[in-house]
Symmetry: C2
Subunit: 198 residues, 2 copies
Amino acid sequence: MPRPSEPTRARIVQAASALFYNEGIRRVSVDEVAAKAGLTKRTLYYHFKSKDDLVAAYLAARDQPNLALFRTWFAEAEGGLPAKVEAIFRNLARSARHPKWKGCGFLRTSAELANMPGHPAIRIGAAHKKKFEDWLRAIFAEQGIADPLKLARQILLLLDGSFAVVQLHRDASYMETAGEAARTLIETALKKPGRKRG
Amino acid sequence: MPRPSEPTRARIVQAASALFYNEGIRRVSVDEVAAKAGLTKRTLYYHFKSKDDLVAAYLAARDQPNLALFRTWFAEAEGGLPAKVEAIFRNLARSARHPKWKGCGFLRTSAELANMPGHPAIRIGAAHKKKFEDWLRAIFAEQGIADPLKLARQILLLLDGSFAVVQLHRDASYMETAGEAARTLIETALKKPGRKRG
DNA sequence: TTGTGTATATTCACTGGTTAGTATACATAC
DNA sequence: GTATGTATACTAACCAGTGAATATACACAA
């Protein structure tokens, strides 16, 4: 049984993800994660050198799937650029209406660890947001928008703002409001001079 | 000495504010707060029935001063409506560049307590954001904007988004980017039909 | 086929430290 | 002498991380 090791590690990360996302990092003990994964704490510490390490793994595991979701929602949406971006917010609103939704795991973790700037989990969260920003920036640049980075950042601000506000008020309609704002900003940018192609 | 009681309570809230804001709720013990306030934990528990109670008092104490700051920044700014709202973001960027800045205390607390929806601190945070939203809505309504609530919510989304993003990346320039987005959204709304007066 | 060494994987039981909250007694002011 | 306020010293629980021992699988040799 020892040999594989990867399935065990993956099971631990899966258990940690569910608990950390639902309850928060500091409210969940390593023992609880181990119990949920069906093994003892000592075994968990064989696979991860510390709780911080486990937290980092939890966020790292969310990175690519999260971005892939955004890309899928964008790609599958009908209509032009504004509609495709707005579709991301509409899909997010649908997710947020699920009772188990608890906001953005990256932002919540970073908020919980706000006084530990060098923490690996915060670096992972920051990198995740940068990847999203960069993906949008490339799309906007391709469309010939004059300042694609600025527009990408404004969309990111609306996205993260809606995570925070929806979580606080438990009212997913803010996500659709954010989508409308995103549409307005993109349409304005498309009309501006300085574009490379129509 | 016993009689007054209010100054002692205020001193405790002040100590709690400094510690909770800088370090986070769960990282700070009641003993630390008491020590910072210059008294013992037992005395603190005479004035507050629990730590949760103290957390609620910490946020309640930030409510009015925070809103007053926004109102001041808005009132003292030169120019029209878009410029006055943008001034809030510029002033916030200046605050965020201070090394002790750690984001929005309301949002960070709500993120830390994300699984306790009935927690008094979360209700206080939600009410605070609603007050800000309502203040903006009234201003926009007075200016004859067609959908003042929607625009107020979009500005709120940008504001809270910038809190989250600036905290994560430690890059206050996002706040100015949010201010530009706010300006764009307001200018667009001002140009839209359906306005009551010019 | 059988024995043996080694890296991998897992467990039990423990330590040392922290923390929210309390029992009890004492002090001050009116 | 009673309300209010403060301090000392405690409890009971929790929790991150570790020491020492054990079990399994596989490589390789006999």
